[in-house]
Symmetry: C2
């Protein structure tokens, strides 16, 4: 969580003025989103989030993200809706960075979600997949199996400074997935980062999904695998089967998984754990001096991998058939 | 700027429920205030700031700060107004810390204030001093001349690792002030930390003052000296006489300085620079591991001191007589 970019005094008001949402009354840098700088702004017409896209977001991808949020919001999914400026563009330029304004969503993200929240997020994910059907743009998943070897090479032997033997464990996992990554599964728009900090609740009801900046076109069941990793493990890396059942049942109450997806789920979960292990590992080894962000622990996913390696089939995650 | 304390999921909603301001709809950790954790919260009745008081705030001082904000707001000063809970108390307890909810103020703090803003803050400071008259509670200024030697001892010889000779320069300054610190000046409630980040503007008009957690009972002109340090120097430590004139004229348009205050102003400005040099130095030498806060540069005030040491009288700050 961070505010990376400090915006010169008059520039923000001038930027906001382009959007026809009234005069800027306040702007607070908020501790939300690790990739971008976010300000909660108040104007004479309401509350909004102003995002400055920092260097980890490829500007060429921004039209995909913006159009996707517009597409999903039009189809009734509660997600931030980009505000379009007078010139018809949602994207602008502020403090030397691409920037956009989206509608503010109420809701609280949970640090310790329970089974009821897992069921909600399962339903929400399936609704996202259904709302994403028909979205015409495509974006490859740069963090799927083809991206893992380059990440491992970026970490290199330094991985072993984080945990002895980690470099070899990662290399063995990559070999497994490169040899047998599931192909031909139903695909479409996936969120690809639907962790608890990106899901809002009001009381126990899901009130919105945010942060679509990893969204891409990939196997829908891979998104479910990411959620099983992100929502259903306890702090000690024990898999909580009650939460797994709730998440999967919630998902299937909206969209039933096909046989191929069920068969692929263990490999997808194991691959998803490796993906977060790898990106966290690279971040961990590359904390910039003076960083305001504490990197996330890569070894959390090293421990989750151990669980996935022993899974026999999708029933071990709580899927009922 | 930081959010230090992560609040357990249900605790914040339960805390907010005590205040009769409706249900909690959202809570964003905001990058405001270096001493405490601040959340901008939205409830069914509006927007508020929820503050958790971290260890640098003495809980015994909190009733002073809360009562002061209530006193000032009642007298028409635009400052955060503490919300009183159903039990009549503004202060509560959240995540193991004292906590309070105050009203949300619109406005933007400026990184590069100009003379027009200095005039506004001069007027605002004088209005604060007038509104504070009659406030019954007292709080000694722990960061005035008696507090400087202990701070220098805390830094010790390590000061010279920040800048060669700094320990000796600080010791000489302390000796000067201990021998001749102005006494018997008109005193009352001072803000004691009215830096640009604690003053809000809408367009070029002052819209509110925040962060009263250094407020205390001391010479009113010392508050002005702090503002001259905080608002009227350029990034290269050059004193901007136009800004100094604007700030002093703004102040005197509301409250005229007495002769003794005018005579004391150079010593007060020099002492105020030393005070911020010392606290920044101690912070600089004590960055906790994993800190999310970048400490402020103490040497900014070492450079400002050089200017103050050469000042002949208050006219050098722009006071017109």
């Amino acid at each position: 969580m961070a505010v990376y970019t400090e915006v010169p005094d008059d520039d923000m008001a001038a930027f906001v003025a382009r959007y026809g949402i009234g005069d800027l009354l306040s702007a607070k840098g908020i501790a939300e989103g690790v990739e971008n700088s976010n300000y909660l702004i108040h104007t004479t017409s309401g509350h909004f989030i102003l995002t400055l896209y920092e260097k980890r977001v490829n500007p060429a991808d921004l039209p995909f993200f913006i159009a996707l949020m517009q597409h999903l919001a039009l189809r009734g999914l509660t997600c931030p809706q980009p505000v379009v400026a007078a010139d018809g563009e949602a994207l602008g330029w502020l403090a030397g960075r691409p920037a956009a304004i989206v509608t503010f969503l109420d809701g609280l993200s949970l640090r310790r979600p329970g089974p009821v929240h897992c069921a909600e997020v399962g339903r929400g994910l399936a609704r996202l997949h259904e709302a994403g059907a028909g979205f015409a743009m495509r974006r490859a998943n740069a963090l799927s199996v083809a991206g893992w070897r380059p990440l491992a090479e970026q970490a290199g032997a330094a991985a072993d400074t984080v945990s002895p033997g980690l470099a070899a464990r990662v290399a063995a996992e990559i070999a497994v997935h490169e040899a047998g990554w599931p192909q031909g599964l139903p695909s479409g728009v996936i969120h690809a980062d639907l962790f608890p900090n990106n899901v809002f609740f009001i009381r126990d009801t899901l009130s919105g999904l945010i942060d679509f900046y990893f969204a891409c076109t990939d196997a829908l069941a891979y998104d479910l695998a990411i959620c099983l990793n992100a929502w259903c493990f306890e702090a000690d890396a024990a898999f909580n089967l009650t939460k797994g059942r709730a998440l999967l049942a919630g998902y299937e109450s909206v969209r039933k998984l096909g046989e191929a997806e069920v068969a692929a789920l263990p490999a997808l979960c194991r691959g998803a754990a490796l993906r977060f292990l790898l990106t966290r590992l690279v971040d961990w080894l590359n904390v910039p001096p003076g960083a305001l962000v504490r990197p996330l622990d890569p070894l959390e996913y090293d421990r989750k991998l151990v669980f996935h390696q022993r899974v026999a089939d999708a029933r071990d995650y709580g899927l009922r058939r």
